[in-house]
Each structure stands twice: as C-alpha cells, then as structure tokens.
C-alpha cells in the first residue's frame, strides 16, 4: 500500500480581518505515509496551528481558500460537517496543546472518554466500558482507576496522557499533536513524548507533531517541515535538515538552540535572531 495517509496540496487559509484578508497559510503542500512521524516547526504566528486546525475543520474565523486535503484517499472538501464529526477521533484525532484546559472540569475522566465512544456509536455494557477505558489508560501508562477521578486531581503530565488516550480511543490513522508538551517540564515532557511515540508505533498511525523546540523534533520525527510567515519554507528528512539547513530561518532556529556544549558566550546567535526578524519585518 503505497498511497499516502494524508496528502495536502497547495493549501491556503485566509482569515478575514478589518484590514482585508490575511493569508495565514500560503500554498502549503506535504504528504504523510502510514506510520510516518512528521514535525512542523515555526514561530508563533507562522501558520502551523492554523494548518492543523484547517485539517480538523476547526478554524475559527478562517477559511480554506485554495488547495486540497486528501485523507485515506478521500477529498475532505467533499465531506459534510456531520460526516466530519464522525471522522474526528475515528480517522484523525487531535492531542491539544493545553491539556489543562481541554478536559471538562466537572466530568470524571471515564465519562469524558466514554463520550467519544457514545458519539461514534460504539456501544459497551457498563462493566465492559470500564474495562475498555481501563485498558486505554493502561496503554498511556496510567492506572485504570484514573477513570474515576476528576481532571483537577491529576497532574499536568497525567492530563496530557489522558488526552493521548482519548486521541487513540478509536484507533485513528492520523494523530495531530499540537505542542503536546510545551506546558510540561523537562522530565515529564520526556515521559509524555515517550508515551506518544509508543502508542503511535503500536497503532501504526501517522503523526504530525507541532512545536517550536527543534531539539525535541530532532529526536522524535523522521521528516521535518519548517513554516515561516505562512509558508512551508523547508521540508525534508530531519537529519538532513540539521546537517545542512537551507533556509536562513531554519539555520537560525538550529543555531539558537541552547546546549551543554556552549558556555556563557552567546556567539551572537541572539543578535542574529533579532536582526533576522527585524529585516523580515516581523513586528
């Protein structure tokens, strides 16, 4: 099966603003094979989240004005809003950025996961539902008893794992992860990413990981796309991009990475970032 899971061609997304239409995503094309890990990096406002929201048809105030999105051989433009509801979670799921604010504070974890099954017509008996959810939580390294708890009783890393468990509940072929670890500290970040990688491998799903931490990307994804001001300025195998970045912005992202090999001297990397952004006219 050589057909890609996801094929995005010339995607353009516009937001209507008082000053006229603003193109947040310009002519972006990429495709993903089954089981591939794709990383999308870029500054805030570079259009990476907009791309993902367009995929999920969750844009607020934005419109796809050009291009096509094909998921598992089906052109998503032809899919009705009602059918899209079924498609989310079943074929394509989202791990949101702020797990803290994505869970409903007044529902127990088990009820929230159960909603996904109910919405997609998956029926279980009460005991079976408990067992299924328990197993799901087990796959992301949480105890089955977590389903009886409320979100406020869990730590940030646990909540993020609950979101990962929800994203794999219906075994989608594509997982979209929007900065899933940016609110977590380093130790938990590594565990959560490890969990995400493990379930993705077990499922054989493809994954798009969004972020601005190049170091994380270096270790998690196989293919990397760099977005800058709405355009996909560079795309290729992650190791090749790190070895020989072509675009000035990519080079700057890699050079500004802090590391233990470099002491106090800032090698002017910061100053370079500044002049680069100013020259390009970023506010």
């Amino acid at each position: 099966m050589s057909e890609p899971v996801l094929d995005i061609r010339n995607l353009t997304v516009e937001y209507r603003t008082a000053a006229g239409p603003f193109q947040a995503v310009k002519d972006v094309s990429f495709s993903l094979n089954a089981g591939e890990r794709f990383g999308l990096v870029g500054e805030s406002g570079s259009g990476k989240s907009t791309t993902i929201l367009a995929l999920m048809r969750m844009l607020r105030g934005g419109y796809i004005t050009g291009g096509s999105i094909v998921l598992n051989g089906r052109d998503l433009a032809t899919v009705s809003d009602r059918a899209y509801r079924t498609l989310r979670f079943a074929e394509m799921s989202l791990v949101p950025q702020g797990a803290m604010s994505s869970l409903n504070p007044v529902l127990r974890i088990g009820e929230q996961i159960g909603d996904i099954f109910d919405d997609h017509g998956v029926r279980h008996g009460a005991a079976e539902r408990q067992r299924v959810i328990g197993e799901l939580l087990g796959r992301v390294g949480l105890a089955a008893s977590v389903q009886h708890r409320f979100p406020h009783e869990l730590s940030g890393g646990m909540k993020q794992r609950v979101c990962i468990a929800m994203s794999i509940a219906l075994q989608p072929s594509l997982i979209l992860a929007d900065e899933p670890t940016s609110a977590l500290d380093v130790m938990v970040q590594k565990q959560v990413l490890g969990t995400l990688g493990k379930v993705q491998r077990e499922l054989g799903a493809s994954i798009i990981l969004i972020g601005h931490d190049m170091a994380l990307m270096a270790h998690f994804v196989t293919t990397l796309g760099v977005m800058y001001r709405g355009e996909l300025v560079e795309i290729g195998p992650v190791k090749e991009i790190f070895a020989a970045p072509k675009h000035a912005y990519t080079r700057m992202l890699i050079e500004s990475l802090p590391s233990f090999d470099r002491l106090g001297a800032f090698r002017g990397a910061g100053a370079r970032a500044d002049t680069f952004l100013n020259r390009e006219g970023t506010p």
């Binding site: 931490d213 270790h219 802090p258 470099r262 506010p283």
Partner: protein
C-alpha cells in the same frame, strides 16, 4: 557596599484541611544569599512543585517563612517599615514568566514604564522621565520610537518581555529576580533575552536569581546552579561542575531529560514511560554536604560529613570567579 538579600534557615509549610492538619512542606531548611559586593547569577532549577515559585515569592516578601528569616540589609523583609519597604521595592525587581499577563491591555506601553518613575519620584519632569525610558529601552535592544505609544497587543512576546526588563532597569536595581523569563518566549528569541540578562550582571553588576526548569539555559547564564526537588536542595555548585560532573542522581536524571540539539546523539525517548525513581523519602529532611570546594550534595543528616549551605557554595563560586578574572 551593596545590600544583601538573605534567606536564613527557612522552612515554608502550607497547611490545609481541617484545622491545618494536612501539611505540605514547600521549602525545607534553605539558606542562600543574593546580592552584596559580589554580584553573581544564581540559577534555581527544578520541576513543577519543586518550590521554585515559593522561593521567588519568599524573596519578594510575598510569602512569610514558617521558620527562619528572610532579611534585606539586615532587616526582615516580611513586615518591614515603610522606608525599608520603599527601598526594598525599588532595589529588588522581579521579571515574571508570562509577558502577556503582566500588562494592562487598556494602557499604552508608556504607562507601566512611567508609573514606577512617578511612584519613586525618580524623574523630576516628563522629559526627564522619557529620556530615562528611552535609555532603558535602548539598553534591552528595543527602538523607543517603535515601542512607545503602542498597546501591549501590538508587541510580540519577546518585545514585551524586554519591556519588562527595561522597566526593572529604570529603577536602577541591585537585584533582579527572574521567574522563568524565557519559557513563554519563542525559541529564536530566548537567547536574545538571556543575553540581556547575562549582560546586566556582567556590565551593570546586578545580582540575578534565574528560576527555570530548563537546565541548558541555566548553564548558559549562571555562575551557581541550585537543583531543587520537593522543596529541598539536591545539589548546588558551580554551573560547569553541576552540568558536566553531576553527583546527585536527580541532577543526572534532569540532564538526561534534556534533548540534545544533535539528532544523531541518542536520547532514548522510546525507553521511558515508567515514572522516575523517588529521590526523597516522605518526611525525610536532607542536609547539604560539601563534596568539593565548589559543590555540595544532599545527603541524610545522620551521615555526618562537612555540612554546608547554599550561601557558602555561592560565596566560594563567587570567589573563584573573581580570582579567575
């Protein structure tokens, strides 16, 4: 003679539940020093819940110690008189994590820069105030013409964070307490902010406390690194020593959790999934034992050894830095 901000054998305990029966110790037996004649950069590194923010609140006088004392210029910070309070609030400045939350969206950028000058009576006229503001903005790499007169939402996160540094500088502080100043700034602008903070210490002799969960940036700017875990200091020492020759297993675990920017260096991300081991037994209080001239590591109180404090290590690192210069 610069004034000292001292934390002397402090415990902070939060009580909750019926009649305060549930107690949570946020900081335990901490002694450290900021400022003085020997300005340095001390990084406090730890995870969420390690006590980092409690420490900053303690240093700012927003949190009273349960045991021990916090002193500025020899006087307790908590419950200071008006004159002492005024000097303290001027000379000790804070920079916070979120460059979006700290601005009032209804006021132009000028407002948070002018009001401290007014409050402390530093500028005699409007022209003098603006001259000072423009100088401060320029020193953090912002163009006054492009910054003043704008509203906060018109600036990027990196620019807003630099405005906050400029605001701190206006008051000519001796000490700056920075609580995760770069964690919400885009990756490409982090080094710009860090470079500014580093420059404040090197060029203006301002003492800095840099609180972070990111060991790499701590290593880039700090002289001394303090590793905090569960309210206790696990390891303290010169940055070079702590990062390249960590002695405590917790420090090692923190270092291992940082991804290397080299994609060919293995990070073993797929092996993890189990929770990390426990480094402190519940209810256990550790003491710092000096293992090297520039380092101390946490150990059990009964083990004896050369028991020391963060202050002592900070002083030793400062002395070594001066003799090297």
């Amino acid at each position: 003679m610069s004034k000292l901000l001292e934390v002397d054998a402090v415990d902070v305990v939060f009580s909750s539940g019926f009649a305060g029966r549930e107690q949570k110790r946020a900081l335990s037996n901490l002694t450290m020093t900021v400022g003085g004649d020997n300005p340095g950069i001390t990084a406090i590194v730890g995870e969420s819940g390690s006590g980092k923010t409690t420490l900053i609140r303690l240093l700012l006088g927003f949190q009273a110690p349960t045991r021990g004392r916090v002193l500025y210029d020899g006087k307790p910070v908590f419950g200071m008189n008006a004159a002492g309070q005024s000097a303290f609030r001027r000379e000790v400045q804070a920079i916070f994590q979120d460059p979006f939350d700290v601005f009032n969206p209804f006021y132009k950028i000028d407002h948070p820069l002018l009001s401290p000058l007014k409050a402390f009576g530093i500028a005699k006229s409007r022209d003098e105030a603006y001259a000072k503001i423009e100088k401060a903005l320029t020193s953090v790499g912002l163009k006054p013409a492009e910054t003043l007169g704008r509203y906060p939402h018109q600036l990027s996160g990196g620019q807003r964070q630099r405005v906050m540094i400029a605001r701190a500088l206006l008051l000519d502080p001796a000490i700056i307490l920075a609580d995760e100043p770069v964690s919400m700034v885009d990756a490409s602008l982090r080094s710009t902010i860090l470079e500014i903070l580093y420059g404040l210490n090197r060029d203006m002799g301002i003492s800095l406390v840099y609180v972070t969960h990111d060991l790499t940036t701590a290593y880039q700017v700090a002289d001394t690194i303090v590793v905090l875990h569960g309210g206790q200091v696990m390891e303290v020492g010169a940055a070079e020593e702590v990062i390249h020759r960590p002695r405590h297993p917790y420090t090692q675990a923190l270092i291992d959790a940082v991804p290397s920017p080299d994609p060919n260096k293995p990070w073993n991300i797929d092996e993890t999934g189990e929770p990390p081991p426990r480094f402190i037994e519940p209810g256990e209080t550790l003491v710092l034992q000096r293992t090297d001239p520039l380092r101390a590591v946490a150990g059990s109180a009964s083990a004896g050894g050369d028991v020391t404090t963060v202050s002592a290590i900070q002083a030793a690192v400062g002395a070594a830095k001066r003799s090297a210069a």
